[in-house]
């Protein structure tokens, strides 16, 4: 039997969705016109009132004066109409094969169902906030109806050929321009989304972003972007880093958003450390938050807080190293006896370890043991960092923008995160990383090839713990106080969820997954009670439709590295040649081995 954790070895075999609507193909022509009518409905809706009172969403009660959210709906409508009309406009040059760069029909389907979701969410928000269906004005109904008509009608359009935009020969500057544009869009979306105070506005905007990405993916733009990104790694990394660096500039001294942003960075850095353990080595660790806690407590105890119990406070760089080391030693202590068990057993043992850590921290209060952590009170009043004469607690003016306390920590955390990512990628692209992935894929086979399975597992555990410890050291100063109840099992679970959601073993995916999971609950305070339910649903949906995560491992994307049409054709044929015989009844090898 395969003995790695069941959650970790989920087969990433997602065969594409079955072609829908092929039966209805003869209705394609009228369907297109009906869908266009629906799109017109969607386009008209923003110019009507959606709600009868102004206090729902961002005031959608006016006629003829769309609010931003209504403009977004308009944009969706344009997208839908564009996808529907494009085939009339873009025709293959006479005498040449159609290039089929973009899959407009797929885009239309996505945009139609996306608009429907958008209007449904917006209407639901209005109904909930104003109480009752009566609150909906004609605009909302028009939008809903138009989107519904378009959704149903587009089902009858054929799926069409896979988009080939990613195989188009684009000059390097074009690729880089695309990357920079996309990254800038992300910055804008993040700044705008964070600026929305109303939860319903935030959700609606989130839906818009999700729909936009989905449509882009279906049309084929995302394929092109990820191909360009794969070929211009450096440009992508630089652009992403620049955007992250500039983010505080867009906040104009608002500490509220920056404190959330710091929290997101800390969470992401921790997730990146856990990504070594779960994503690369395939070890399901459900107690990982303990290592973040170990780092935070170490830094707190070694800080200049009046409540610090040791009375020794070395400079911060030293504290960082000590915190990481303490966490790593904990990792070794927990790892060496437990890493011999695997899969679900390891998950249970690590879960227990996380609890033991929290309870121990609660009890090191001088009553039952040495007074190290002051028990459940924790260590409060941890002073702000001072590095090289720079006080992280003070505001500064940079280029006319106020940079507050949290923005300072944001930049520090950004640096820490960059270092952690560097460590992660360097390890991943080395003998060590290959060993980890081999263990994840097939532990017994890896061992038979001479991979030091136990040593590498231990290294993953200790290394991941070290990185979490470093993040914890910064977290102690950001949070001002460190208490045991910040490090509960739920946090570990969210870390794992973020990794699975984003794409195990990837950098970009885990960053996105972690950000989403940390950001949503912060912005959706009123959802508090339903948070877990929502995440549960989200994960189930992900596992059903995209088990490899939002951004699958680059190892799984290597097949798309062709530069031109010819090669693309060839690859397509190869894949067909390989897939079809296996469908035609060639004996499927039973890969769940009985060899060992």
């Amino acid at each position: 039997m395969n003995d790695t954790g069941s959650l970790v070895t989920l087969a990433p075999d997602s065969s594409g969705p079955a072609p829908t609507g092929e039966r209805w193909i003869r209705f394609a022509k009228p369907a297109r016109w009906i869908a266009i009518a629906g799109a017109v409905g969607v386009l008209a809706a923003p110019f009507m009132a959606w709600a009868y009172r102004p206090d729902a969403l961002d005031d959608v009660s006016f006629w003829g004066e769309p609010s931003p959210l209504q403009w977004f709906a308009f944009a969706l409508g344009l997208l839908l109409l564009g996808c529907l009309v494009a085939p009339f406009v873009i025709k293959p040059r006479p005498g040449r094969r159609p290039r089929r760069l973009l899959a407009f029909n797929r885009g239309a389907k996505a945009a139609a169902s996306g608009s429907l979701v958008y209007f449904a969410v917006a209407s639901a928000a209005i109904v909930l906030e104003l109480g009752g269906l009566v609150a909906l004005e004609p605009g909302a109904w028009a939008g809903l109806a138009g989107a519904l008509v378009a959704t149903v009608a587009t089902r009858a359009l054929p799926e069409g050929h896979d988009p080939r935009l990613q195989f188009l020969n684009t000059p390097a500057w074009g690729q880089i321009l695309g990357i920079v544009g996309a990254v800038a869009l992300v910055l804008f979306a993040a700044a705008y989304g964070l600026g929305q105070d109303g939860a319903s506005t935030f959700v609606t905007f989130g839906v818009l972003c999700g729909v936009g990405v989905y449509v882009a993916a279906r049309v084929g733009v995302m394929g092109w972007l990820s191909a360009a990104a794969a070929r211009n790694r450096r440009a992508l990394v630089l652009a992403a880093f620049a955007v992250a660096f500039l983010f505080p500039m867009t906040q104009d001294g608002s500490d509220a958003n920056m404190s959330i942003a710091v929290g997101v960075l800390i969470f992401a850095a921790t997730a990146m450390g856990l990504n070594i353990v779960v994503g690369l080595a395939g070890l399901l660790d459900l107690g990982y938050i303990a290592f973040l806690g170990a780092g935070a407590f170490t830094a707190a105890i070694l800080s200049r807080s009046a409540f610090a119990t040791l009375g020794w406070s070395p400079p911060f760089p030293v504290v960082v190293l000590i915190s990481g080391t303490v966490a790593a030693i904990l990792g070794l202590i927990i790892g060496s006896p437990t890493l011999r068990v695997s899969g679900d057993y390891l998950a249970i043992v690590t879960l227990a370890f996380g609890e033991i850590f929290r309870i121990t921290m609660n009890n090191l209060d001088g009553v039952d043991g040495p007074n190290l952590t002051r028990g459940s009170n924790g260590i409060p009043a941890i002073p702000d960092l001072e590095l090289f004469g720079f006080d992280f607690g003070e505001s500064h003016m940079i280029l006319g923008v106020q940079i507050g306390r949290f923005a300072n920590y944001y930049w520090l955390m950004l640096l820490v995160l960059a270092l952690i990512i560097l460590v992660f990628t360097n390890l991943n692209h080395s003998r060590i990383g290959r060993g980890w992935v081999a263990i994840r894929e097939d532990e017994r086979a890896a061992e038979a090839m001479g991979v030091n399975v136990f040593g590498l597992k231990l290294l993953a555990f200790a290394g991941g713990a070290f990185l979490a410890g470093i993040a914890g050291a910064v977290k102690a100063h950001v949070d001002v106080s460190v208490t045991p109840d910040q490090y509960i099992f739920m946090e570990s679970a969210f870390l794992v969820a973020g990794i699975v959601l984003g794409g195990m073993g990837t950098v970009g995916g885990v960053l996105i997954g972690a950000s989403i999971l940390k950001l949503l609950p912060e912005k959706l305070r009123f959802f508090e009670d339903y948070r877990l339910l929502m995440f549960g649903v989200l994960l189930v949906v992900m596992m059903r439709f995209r088990p490899e995560g939002l951004m699958p491992d680059e190892r799984r994307q290597l097949e798309f590295h062709a530069d031109d049409d010819e090669l693309a054709e060839e690859i397509g044929e190869n894949i067909e040649a390989h897939v079809i015989p296996s469908l035609a009844g060639a004996p499927e090898p039973d890969l769940k081995g009985d060899d060992a």
């Binding site: 360097n426 390890l427 017994r444 061992e447 038979a448 090839m449 001479g450 399975v453 190892r555 097949e559």
Partner: protein, 267 residues
């Protein structure tokens, strides 16, 4: 000539079932030895005993003058590489990466080298890549380097597994049914590949059900029946031995239907 591998009285019991019973077998350097026997005879179990995946109930295995400990990693480092009856590739790694994993035991980059990209890391990385590419070319998969191994056709997966084993630079290669599930064309290619491997001076111990394949390729053939060695000798001798034929086809008389308690070979 002294034997490269010498298994002495290897016995493997699973509860009441003796899957391998007092098997002794020698493989000389550069020799191709075939291991045949009906389903459930214990061939794969014997392989697992040799490679340390099972700890034999009794008996010992000597390789290159040293006793092999029952630790797969030590066995691999000593110079014994294997393939599996049910292909066990690293599915979500590319063909090239699979072979590069095979170099693991022959390289020494540690975490510090990798994190700081020290010279040893960079030197070994280029070298590992080059050698892995060479082995891929050797088995005829040079073009498939960037394909995920799970997306490769069945025959290619078998060859990739052989390339991964070869990358370990073993002195002895253990192949468990290298042509299982292949069509005649692929079988011929596999045969040709194994002959070329022999040309490298490597000793090979191969389990196979394809008799034509075994008798045309091997220097020596051993036949295992119900865990014990029935006969061990030159291909012609084994081929014509009535007991071998009997073991495969069965005697026409006196076979009680309940006599065979070990038919189910799926562990």
């Amino acid at each position: 000539m002294t034997a490269l591998l010498s298994a002495r009285d290897v016995t493997m019991k699973f509860g009441g079932l003796t899957a391998v019973n007092q098997v002794s077998l020698d493989v000389a350097p550069g020799e191709i030895v075939g291991l045949i026997g009906p389903n459930g005879a214990g061939k794969t179990t014997f392989f697992n005993c040799l490679t340390g995946m099972y700890q034999p109930t009794s008996g010992e295995v000597e390789f290159d003058g040293q006793l092999l400990p029952p630790k797969p990693r030590r066995v691999a480092m000593a110079g014994v590489a294997r393939t599996f009856q049910n292909i066990r590739l690293f599915q979500n790694m590319t063909a090239l990466e699979n072979v590069m994993v095979g170099r693991y035991a022959r390289t020494g980059t540690n975490a510090i080298d990798a994190v700081f990209r020290l010279p040893r890391h960079r030197r070994e990385e280029t070298e590992t890549r080059r050698i892995a590419e060479e082995w891929l070319d050797f088995v005829g998969l040079g073009e498939a380097a960037d394909l995920l191994s799970r997306n490769m056709p069945y025959g290619d997966q078998r060859r990739l597994e052989i390339a991964r084993a070869l990358a370990l630079e073993p002195k002895l290669l253990l192949l468990d049914e290298p042509t299982a599930g292949m069509n005649p064309q692929e079988t011929r290619e596999a045969e040709e590949l194994i002959t070329r491997i022999r040309g490298l001076g490597m000793a090979i111990l191969v389990i196979e059900h394809d008799m034509r394949f075994i008798f045309s390729l091997c220097d020596r053939v051993a036949c295992l029946v119900r865990g014990a060695v029935l006969i061990d000798g030159a291909p012609e001798t084994v081929q014509n031995d009535p007991r071998v034929i009997e073991a495969y086809i069965g005697t026409p008389v006196d076979v009680a239907p309940s006599a065979d308690g070990e038919g189910d070979s799926d562990a």
